[in-house]
Symmetry: C2
Amino acid sequence: MATRQSNPIGVFDSGIGGLTVFKEVVKVLPGEDLIYLGDTARLPYGNKSAATITRYALEATHFLLGKHIKLLVVACNTASAVSLKTLEDRFRIPIVGVIQPGARRAVEATRTGRVGVIGTEGTVKSGAYLKAIRQSGPRVEVFSKPCPLFVPIAEEGLSENEIAQTAANFYLRELKRIGIDILVLGCTHYPLLKRVIRKTMGPRVTLVDSARETAREVLRVLADNRLQNSRRSGVGRRLFYVTDYPERFQKVGEKFLGEKLGKVIEVGI
Amino acid sequence: MATRQSNPIGVFDSGIGGLTVFKEVVKVLPGEDLIYLGDTARLPYGNKSAATITRYALEATHFLLGKHIKLLVVACNTASAVSLKTLEDRFRIPIVGVIQPGARRAVEATRTGRVGVIGTEGTVKSGAYLKAIRQSGPRVEVFSKPCPLFVPIAEEGLSENEIAQTAANFYLRELKRIGIDILVLGCTHYPLLKRVIRKTMGPRVTLVDSARETAREVLRVLADNRLQNSRRSGVGRRLFYVTDYPERFQKVGEKFLGEKLGKVIEVGI
């Protein structure tokens, strides 16, 4: 009989960006079964209102609970920023967002106490990183900058194109001038632009990859709740659901994961 | 008593881009009442599937019919490309899309018989421009290129930024090399990038603005159906509905219209 430990982990994002988190979870927990849900019919969330995003996040969580997940990863900064509290109040399984882990890492890593955060308009506007960073390090100064074009640039596979460099120069100019020593990649798409962001910011600025930090948090929460799937020795099963356009998800998703995705199933939620 | 002639014209788009069409309709028909619906909760349509886009278009049309519109303008190239036929089959009011008018103008204007079309991935993939242009001019050669970043660039108010120029250089390189004499702006957002597109393509290429051509078509269809509002002498009423984020629509919309928008109402459809 299936135990709770052998149930899958659910990973939810507005679209494809959460695959950067998915990839990091696979790295630290290769034996776990994973179910990914990308709400591609309604992406992007970054420029939508808090009420609408929360409604979408609730619908996504209901869908994944129907698949008997043991833990939910909200692998979308915008949804984590505006909806995590509502989800935690409403549901009983452990829920891991992508804000807290990156914020904590930034506070640990800063030497100058000047931290930059880049993300979508929704994430930055919500002030969620500011709040999370202040909670871990009350004296840390936070400088935020929305970089809305980074998402479509990553989605279109143009992360290595000159357009990405021009956009990075434009968006990061101010943060460079301010003089930060940590820059949090506060959007799951941004790890794809790491190279160009690193080049633009220079060697003195350390990038915090919230996808990687989130995967570590998932590992910790599973251990704390004794939910690790200890019986499996091989590689876990991976299932991908999207609300629209599975072919596109498959194609772009391979860029994100760096490997074949397998079957992608279209669902209404 | 209100006559059918005094009923409003409905203009529907996935978001804000259709305001370029709205603006042109206002220019040629200043006395008409206009109702705009932007489906901002689910934008953009350009990277979604045909079935999903058609479902959204049907819902939008039902909403506007509830407001007693006498004519519907599908002011979205993607929705026109994939859903116009379904809407025409389903509803009895006159419906004007944005593909046909631009396509016809391109055929009239070309001297070399080599026409370029730029639009979203959805519009280009649908082949709707190719089909519409071939119908008016069977011997015209059509060269299409999706320019997916142009929409977010326009929406973010970066049409005059260096990012727009870098993207235009990248996307239009091939069309320049091919040697077209007409370029159809096959997306309602693109008129905002006219300056940079014109500069990139050079003086020998004529741009066809599908927003402007669509407004002329609306005038013609109203006249043919004796639906013009002849009783009104002043300026018509304008109402704006969006499915999400009215503040953002108001702010960005003013860039599109070049004037204040008045009240923007949020609705569920």
